[in-house]
Amino acid sequence: MSETTVSGLAGRMPKFLRRADPAVLTAFACIVLLLFLGSLYSRSFLSPEYLLQQLKVASFLGVIATGMMLVILLGQIDLSVPWSVAAGAMMACAAAAYGPVGVALAIPFGIFCGVLIGVVNGIGVAYLRIPSMIITLATNAVAQGLMVVYTGGFSPQDSATGAMRYLATGFAVPGVPNAVLIWALIGAAMVFVLTRTGFGRTVYGIGNRERAAYLSGIDTRRVVMIAFAVSGGLSAFGGVLLAGYASKAAQSMGDAYLLPSIAAVVLGGTSILGGRGSYLGTVAGVILITLLQSILSVMQMPEAGRQIIYGVVIVAMLLLYGRAPASR
């Protein structure tokens, strides 16, 4: 019973702080600035079609960044995103080749594979106490190895099922792409979990000080493990959606999502050390990254210039508001 009052207090505090988080405000200000700069270049940057298209592209990153955020809130990191995405996509497409049952189970099977990768990460981090950066790199390498053996080194020939394509490109509600709808649903679920459930409060607690959370009688290892499993599952689901969008899976489809997902979460004001951050910030970070990528590609910036600007912008924004407190 004392636990409820303590966690209730802890639940209210970050919420109050979140309202006035300067990082989230800066991120949204940067979005407006980017749109303004874009509109100077071309009017079409402000058209609803363009904005909706960007939101749709952003939703794939949004789903993946949601899982990443959960892990970063714990003070850990998930570097197995690239091949969790690819494994989810490839396994879903592979299942589709096994008749009608396979088609029906394609999406759950893809997500299941991602959860499996996440569980291995979780066991390593929570029970074996291996630094998350290392164990997730290792599982990423193993997942890559498995996929290379499975596909024989080529992009797999199996194509995405109708359901996957519908989720990624269809319109259940007129005018709103399904991918955006899915991101909104997952985001709403995440906000609910983080702010309204004991699990969410525990996540913030572990991120602040795992020792204290453990001494408060929380099974911190189970929570860490679940968080990694969720992250793996969401990465794989992002991969399933991407496969539906491109109608097939590809070898290195996940590589382009590791840096952006971390950057989106961190630019959204979530502390990389854990324990602090809001989902609203992550939404801002995801939109910001997607807009930046889109504007650079519309300006026909070559890949080299995009990488440079991208890196410089991330460092510059972090220097603006992501700095650690001055030592002592």
């Binding site: 990191i77 390593g124 074996l128 106490r129 291996i130 630094p131 950066m133 290392i134 164990i135 790199l137 290792a138 599982t139 990423n140 390498a141 193993v142 997942a143 890559q144 190895g145 498995l146 290379v148 053996v149 024989g152 080194g153 795992e210 020792r211 453990y214 001494l215 911190t220 290195s252 590589d255 840096l259 971390i262 950057a263 961190v266 990389i272 050390l273 070559p302 890949e303 080299a304 210039g305 995009r306 990488q307 440079i308 600007i309 991208y310 890196g311 410089v312 991330i314 460092v315 972090l318 220097l319 992501g322 700095r323 650690a324 407190p325 001055a326 030592s327 002592r328």
Partner: protein, 326 residues
């Protein structure tokens, strides 16, 4: 007697890595169709030395309890730069080498400045600077190509006196010129102290900032030496994202195998070198056993997973459960 035990305890990780390497290399050469010949050793050492340089670079940063996820990209960038500059007459080549190494130092210094004086987390900061370095590499070499002073390249990747691989001699020289002075200097000790307990080091008046900055900068230099060597090895510059990423990943694996603690303050570059050589040999074992090369990534991944899981044995020594949470 006592001194000897201390030394052993300090070098346990390095000795373990050395042991793994020797066992793996014996298995490798005894199953190699050509056997233990100068040619086999030369090829193996050329491949191993590339990773050894990058692993040394990673070690310097890991000792300070940081991580440098841009080493692979500095490696790629300097490879592309060397394919432009390290050509022509002897003097031009010499200036080219100096320019390439200077670029590496600069990249490392930028990382260090952002992490230490900008107070950003090393993971995110070096991922971002890595993107910048890769972008510059891509500007220099949109397509693989270029050339290198072949006389110098052949001399450094060939054999001395027909037996000793020149790359191993270079590696030894770099260890003696960079690592040994650094680890014995005040700055090197500051880097170790900052990694083992930054607060205590600060309170004792150790120059932790300068020590960490020197570690990041020298890491850039070592990655550049690796990039230079890649150019000597392949004769071309190639801005390949996958290869840069793989070297970053493998450098972490080599550091872990080499007994360097990722929490900082423990381990040595010598251990990381043996870790790198062992990792390369394990990866090549598949070839001598005639496996399908498709299995290589999986095999390397599983080795990596097992290697990092071995660290979990320390859990059995934990008496107080609170020590789980570092």
């Amino acid at each position: 007697m006592k001194d000897w035990r201390y030394w052993f305890a300090e070098q346990r990780g390095t000795l373990l890595a050395f042991g793994i390497f020797v066992v793996m290399f014996i298995i490798y050469t005894s199953n190699h169709p050509a056997g233990f010949t100068a040619n086999v050793v030369q090829t193996a050492s050329n491949k191993g030395v590339l990773l050894a340089f990058v692993a040394m670079a990673q070690t310097l940063v890991v000792i300070t309890a940081g991580i440098d996820l841009s080493v692979g990209m500095i490696f790629t960038l300097t490879n592309c730069l060397a394919s432009w500059l390290v050509v022509g007459t002897g003097l031009e080549t010499a200036f080219g080498v100096i320019a390439v190494l200077g670029t590496g130092l600069l990249c490392g210094a930028i990382n260090g400045a952002i992490v230490i004086y900008g107070r950003l987390q090393p993971i995110v900061a070096t991922i971002a600077t890595g993107a910048v370095y890769f972008g510059i590499a891509l500007l220099l070499r949109p397509f693989p190509g270029g050339s290198v002073n072949e006389g110098l390249a052949d001399a450094l990747t060939g054999r001395l006196f027909g037996i000793v691989p020149a790359s191993l001699v270079t590696l030894l020289a770099v260890v003696l010129v960079v690592w040994v002075p650094f680890s014995r200097s005040v700055l090197g000790r500051a880097a170790y102290a900052a990694g083992s307990s930054e607060m205590a080091a600060y309170m004792s008046g150790v120059p932790i900032r300068r020590g960490k900055f020197a570690a990041y900068t020298l890491a850039g230099l070592l990655a550049a030496i690796g990039g230079l060597f890649l150019t000597f090895f392949t004769y071309t510059g190639d801005a390949a994202y996958a290869s840069g990423n793989a070297y970053t990943l493998f450098s972490i694996a080599a550091v872990v195998l080499g007994g360097v603690s990722l929490f900082g303050g423990k381990g040595s570059a010598i251990g990381a070198i043996f870790g790198a050589l062992a990792f390369r040999t394990i990866g090549d074992l598949l070839f001598v056993f005639d496996f399908d090369p498709l299995w290589q990534p999986l095999f390397q991944g599983v080795i990596l997973l097992i290697a990092v899981s071995l660290g979990a044995f320390a859990l059995f020594r934990v008496r107080n459960r609170l020590e789980w949470f570092l």
